[in-house]
Assembly symmetry: C2
Homo-oligomer: 371 residues x 2
Amino acid sequence: MEKELLAKLETPCVVIDMAQVKKNIADMQAIADASGCALRPHIKTHKMLSLAKLQMAAGCKGFTCAKVSEAEVMIEAGCDDIFIAYPLVGEFRIRRALEVQKKLKRFILAVDSMESAKPLSDAAVAAGTVFEVRMEIDTGLKRTGVTRDKYLQLAKEIAALPGLNMTGIYTFRGLVLHDEATTDNAAAAKEEGELMAAMANELRAAGIPIVDVSAGSTPTGALLAQTGLVTEVRPGTYIFNDYMIMKENNIGLENVAARVYATVVSTPEEGYAVIDGGVKTFPMDGKLDQPPYYFHGYAVVPGDDNLCLQRMNEEHGMITARNGHTGLKVGQLLELVPLHVCPTINLQNEVWLYEDGTLRKEKVAARGCLV
Amino acid sequence: MEKELLAKLETPCVVIDMAQVKKNIADMQAIADASGCALRPHIKTHKMLSLAKLQMAAGCKGFTCAKVSEAEVMIEAGCDDIFIAYPLVGEFRIRRALEVQKKLKRFILAVDSMESAKPLSDAAVAAGTVFEVRMEIDTGLKRTGVTRDKYLQLAKEIAALPGLNMTGIYTFRGLVLHDEATTDNAAAAKEEGELMAAMANELRAAGIPIVDVSAGSTPTGALLAQTGLVTEVRPGTYIFNDYMIMKENNIGLENVAARVYATVVSTPEEGYAVIDGGVKTFPMDGKLDQPPYYFHGYAVVPGDDNLCLQRMNEEHGMITARNGHTGLKVGQLLELVPLHVCPTINLQNEVWLYEDGTLRKEKVAARGCLV
């Protein structure tokens, strides 16, 4: 970025390189298109209307959201096909989902138990409508999703509910069960696809007409699309990428479209410097169940393996030096790549979009959408 | 809270018990007043205008902010005396500080190096004004603050700058250097106060007229005020309290004014259940340099030692059971006390204030104020 623009930044702030965003969007779309696999990007990463519009313009099938409130916001971008990849539980949420359904061409909800499916079906019947749903399957991550020993029975029970039309199954698996240092992502993608395809076939054999088999996040999404084993992939992080994806997908900095800029505010000792961003700027989550030091801190400095964001308080970030000398000066602007970009964006009210030598502000429209 | 009100909540959400907030504010103010010690609450915990007004009505001396953007927001609450307890670095920030200064009766900034002090002095001189400043001292935490071997020399240099009027010193120490299971908070407060009083006296002996000696956060604030060793305390978390303070201050749930409500969305196994809040609802930071499992997870369930929030993804929170049986049902509303309430509030656009049998919404006005 131009020096004049860097000098105008008030830190901490996030700057998005739009040329790289467009390349990331185009590359993933091209792979999906060439594979005949639907691409349904997850908007939880960017939460911004203008970026959703770019994904639509590139030809994505529709969007994935985590929450009904995110779907409400994405309708403003002109989205007409949304899948909420999260078991929809709670009368308050079902009520909002019924309203969202009226505004979309296609709306798909998720269920992973009869306890979640039955109230959804009842509400649809009462409203004189039907909800299209997919059943979530836990393929090893141990969060939501029906376990593999129970999915056939559950699918039969869901299929019998009058207010639901079960058209697919989905999972989130990523590389979370793997060690990214040794994992063959293509093998992981094939494993994920084979698991899902086998279950879809078993359900079809049981008389349940599964159409959509959806899986794949950024670590396996592009590879999974090319296997032909699934009908849809749902990557989110690929639009920006981050330090976690650099490690997991073995890609370089040139693929990362998001940067956090921070200012060095204090250099009390040679071995560490303090920047003006802590946990209210950089989230602490990495891989599920992995301690953060599994990675090289909470953020890295592009082109400088000596430095990393090692410790944080709310507004203090401690940049430590492997060699004991940070070399940083008070007032210096520092460019960082966060470990996990999705919750990083969620901490911002707005971000800067950089394109063609200019910066423009964009509201993080679905920031804080939790319901 | 009344069942009818609980049934109206859309989760995840934060509910603040205003009766307890008022008691927490009054108790801390009473201790400060009785001790003749100024109370300057840190607003980073609540970030809300109506709560700042309550603290003013109770008689607080002024406010502490972490960022100039927080100060800008707090002016809207009618605050006229603000201390930004963070080294003010960056031309963009100094420019905003000059504007804030025009709107306040008293405005105090922080410096911890000549690299931060000199540009501040230069800007004040250029604007025809003087900034009142305090020098931050690192009393062991290793984040910002001049180290104890250098503070005397730095104080002399700062005192000689034409644009700054150094009236005080401050530190943040908390109980961070201690193991809360064995620490005597009163002894920790005395140690903190004695350190700061000794340095203030040494500075005075060197001809630097230190007036304000400011220290103390929620773990030591009330005890430190009573020692007579400092002139001001700056607790923030005390307005709500949280699970970390319950452990550090050995206080009970009845002192905690903030709750997160979440809904159980999935119970795939007996040993864990999933709630509709992950790291976008519950922050992961605890004590600096301490792994989170130092505590009993990222949130606890009041009155239920069996359950805790043990693992998280962005929107998934895994509640695990010590005895292997959560007993939780899909759709169930769960009340939680977060490990660290300050960044929890910062993740919300608005929270519910509960008082006299009613709920009203309050905007988290300074949420996301990072500059």
